[in-house]
């Protein structure tokens, strides 16, 4: 298991958003979490990536280590990656420079040599080709003035460059038209690997037409309430989430 979450709770102020999440992700698989707005999906993603504004309780093992005691950058060094739902703009910070700084920071902590500008460019261009990203985006400021599709593509490029063990894709499909969705999905599929786990967070089944998951989990009211195969997504699309939450209250993955 690359990730084992047991009884995870998270609060902002007095408001409890995660209410005992249990989830296990094997290495090399693609899992999806689906659920209605406000069910806690994005909070789970941010808590796992190390956002500090939450008060967190419970246990999370990432690659066997206690994830919750680590800072955001230490989680990145260990190979955890979050593709943001709303990628942040960094005016004046060149995309290429940002990506090289990030990669070198991660490489340094993994005991690898840092890449100089020339070597990095060669490496980055290969990854850009893999995710079919327009090279002109590299010379612009990070995400500034990017279209919705370009921003999401830039997240996938970062995933391709940083080569994490676990990538969480938080609503990567939102705001994309069908062509952009297909292109992003193609890029994500190119990054599937036996050494990498992908966790897709989405509202809609349509993303899963293009990135076919091994398992689908349903989240409502801060808990994983149902787990099934890829057909579960279709069923949800037809019947909705709330009905399911009432019909299937057995938590899944909470073996401990």
């Amino acid at each position: 298991m690359i990730l084992q979450i047991a009884n995870l709770h998270a609060k902002v102020g007095d408001k409890e958003i995660l209410r005992g999440v249990n989830l296990e992700l094997p290495l090399g698989q693609v899992h999806a979490i689906m659920g209605p707005n406000g069910s806690g999906k994005s909070t789970l993603a941010q808590v796992l990536a190390g956002r500090e504004e939450y008060t967190v309780n419970g246990q999370v093992l990432f690659d066997g280590k206690d994830l919750l005691s680590l800072s955001a950058e230490e989680r990145a060094f260990m190979g955890l990656f979050l593709a943001f739902q709303y990628p942040v703009e960094l005016p004046g910070v060149g995309n290429l420079y940002f990506l090289r700084t990030a990669l070198n920071s991660v490489r340094k902590h993994r005991g690898l040599d840092e890449l100089d500008a020339v070597d990095f460019l060669a490496y980055a261009q290969k990854r850009m080709d893999l995710v079919e990203m327009d090279r002109s985006l590299m010379s612009r400021s990070v995400n500034e003035g990017f279209s919705g599709g370009e921003k999401k593509r830039n997240e996938i490029l970062q995933l391709a460059i940083l080569e994490p063990k676990l990538a969480i894709l938080d609503e990567t499909d939102s705001g994309l038209d069908i062509d952009a969705l297909r292109a992003v999905a193609k890029a994500v599929n190119a990054l599937r690997s036996p050494d990498r786990t992908l966790l897709l967070i989405t509202h809609y089944q349509r993303l899963l037409d293009y990135i076919v998951p091994d398992q689908v989990h349903v989240m409502t009211e801060g808990r994983i309430v149902r787990t099934g195969g890829k057909d579960l997504a279709l069923e949800l699309e037809q019947h909705g989430y709330l009905a399911d939450a009432k019909d299937h209250t057995l938590p899944v993955g909470g073996h401990r």
């Binding site: 941010q46 990536a49 190390g50 956002r51 500090e52 504004e53 800072s71 955001a72 950058e73 989680r75 990145a76 060094f77 990656f81 979050l82 943001f84 990628p87 942040v88 960094l90 005016p91 004046g92 910070v93 940002f98 700084t101 990030a102 920071s105 991660v106 902590h109 400021s141 970062q158 940083l162």
Partner: protein
């Protein structure tokens, strides 16, 4: 300007001093005799002595500015007004006294000169101790020398322009500089001549209580182009030093002049500088002005756009840390039709520092169709630090167009989380955000200076992040 030596201070890279290396040093305080002695040592013509003495009278009569930075710690009676560091000016570095040469080596000047400069002037205390210019620029007729030498060698040119752009009456510190000025650069670029690589001047204060009063005069003749760059440092002492320069620039029809400053004074230096340019028909004047360090800076580079089609630009950054106040800005005087100006001011305050943008855009009644664009962006790093924006405009012509935009931002938690989630430490993340903030400025610097600027900013930011 890479510096190989270990940095001397945690807070300021250039805080070392060389001890007293002077060959002649005045006592503290300013009298009529001080001014006469300076003029006599320099063997100046009578008109210059008269100019100085007239200015001294104005200095004594004028009040201190009633606005801007707090100058109450500045005691004119404690300042030393003239220090001569060496007998002669070197044309090669080997002719410069060893201690002073070592200082400039440490600051990276000879290396920078070899790599990318067309000429270098290095002023130490009151005098220029080293001067060089590429032979091919001399052959093009470009003059680049110190202002004292210019007064001897090009008396007519100096007399024609000296004090015409910034008269002694302008303000108290312009009057002080006019009375006791020493050193500075004189640049003349002939008609239609282009100086493709920068000329650089470097100003170093070494003595305690030193007052440095360089005087720079630049004339860009019709259709010419030039780029002048200056850098400044000083040691850290417990008592205050004063840097009070006057810079006058004449940009004739169709010419373009750029003046780039990266000032990094020690935190005990009062930096009170008057910089002004006049731009004629279709001429362009650009001030690129970076203010890091000093105890207090008051500086408002200005451009008088006096003929049709003249253009002015001020692009500035100010960084204020603990105990520092950067009161900086720009003035654009549109005195002719279809003149245009742009002001971009970026300021960063941290650790209780204070930045003030103080700007003026004036449209005279003849300024039909003139346009001005002002943009002020402030980044506040913590709750101790403050920032003010004091823009003003005077519109004497209804067809003039003025745009003003101001933003105040903090480093956002979202940006920090985004960067740390990619494996950057909080310190690296903050630095990257700050670099991005000042990128519109650094992108205008020659590459070597941009690298230096980023290094300085990185240095300033260390200790600012807990």
């Amino acid at each position: 300007m890479a510096i190989e030596q270990p940095l001397v201070s945690d807070e300021y890279a250039y805080g070392f001093n060389d001890g007293d290396v002077s060959v002649l040093k005045f006592g503290q305080g300013l009298t009529r005799q001080t001014v006469e002695d300076i003029s006599r040592i320099k063997q100046e013509p009578k008109w210059m002595l008269d100019f100085r003495l007239h200015a001294l009278d104005i200095f004594w009569k004028k009040d201190m500015p009633g606005w801007g930075a707090d100058l109450s710690a500045l005691d004119f009676a404690k300042i030393i007004y003239y220090v001569k560091p060496s007998e002669n000016q070197g044309r090669t570095w080997d002719e410069v006294p060893q201690t002073i040469k070592d200082t400039f080596e440490r600051l990276g000047i000879p290396e920078a000169e070899r790599k990318f400069l067309a000429g270098v002037s290095a002023q130490y205390e009151s005098e220029v101790v080293y001067h060089s210019i590429h032979q091919d620029l001399i052959e093009k007729g470009i003059i680049f020398t110190d202002t004292d030498s210019a007064l001897r060698e090009y008396p007519d040119l100096v007399r024609e322009y000296f004090g015409t752009i910034v008269p002694a009456e302008d303000n108290k510190f312009a009057a002080l500089n006019s009375a006791v000025w020493s050193g500075g650069s004189f640049v003349y670029i002939p008609k239609n001549v282009t100086s493709p690589i920068p000329l650089q001047a470097y100003f170093r204060i070494n003595s305690q209580n030193m007052g440095q009063f360089e005087r720079t005069l630049i004339i860009a003749d019709e259709g010419s182009f030039g780029h002048y760059v200056e850098g400044c440092t000083a040691p850290i002492y417990s008592s205050e030093s004063l840097h009070s320069a006057v810079v006058e620039i004449i940009v004739k029809a169709g010419a373009r002049m750029r003046y780039t400053t990266v000032q990094n004074w020690a935190p005990n230096v009062f930096n009170l500088v008057t910089k002004r340019a006049v731009a004629y028909r279709d001429a362009t004047m650009e001030w690129v002005d970076g203010n890091i360090g000093s105890k207090a800076t008051m500086k408002y580079p200005s451009v008088y756009l006096v003929e049709e089609g003249a253009r002015g630009m001020v692009l500035s950054i100010a960084v204020a840390g603990k105990g520092q106040h950067q009161d900086t800005g720009a003035k654009m005087i549109h005195a002719a039709p279809h003149t245009t100006s742009t002001i971009v001011s970026k300021s960063i305050s941290q650790l209780g520092g204070k930045t003030t943008y103080r700007g003026l855009v004036h449209f005279a009644k003849d300024a039909a169709g003139a346009k001005a664009n002002v943009r002020c962006d402030t980044l506040i790093m913590d709750d101790l630090s403050t920032s003010d924006t004091v823009p003003s405009s005077e519109v004497g012509n209804a067809s003039a167009l003025m745009e003003h935009e101001a933003t105040v931002t903090k480093v956002s938690e979202e940006q920090l989380f985004y960067l740390t989630s990619r494996g950057l430490s909080e310190e690296e993340a903050t630095r990257l955000i700050v670099m991005g903030f000042i990128e519109p400025f650094t992108r205008e610097l020659p590459m070597e200076f941009a690298v230096e600027m980023n290094r300085l900013i990185k240095f300033e930011m260390e200790g600012a992040i807990g």
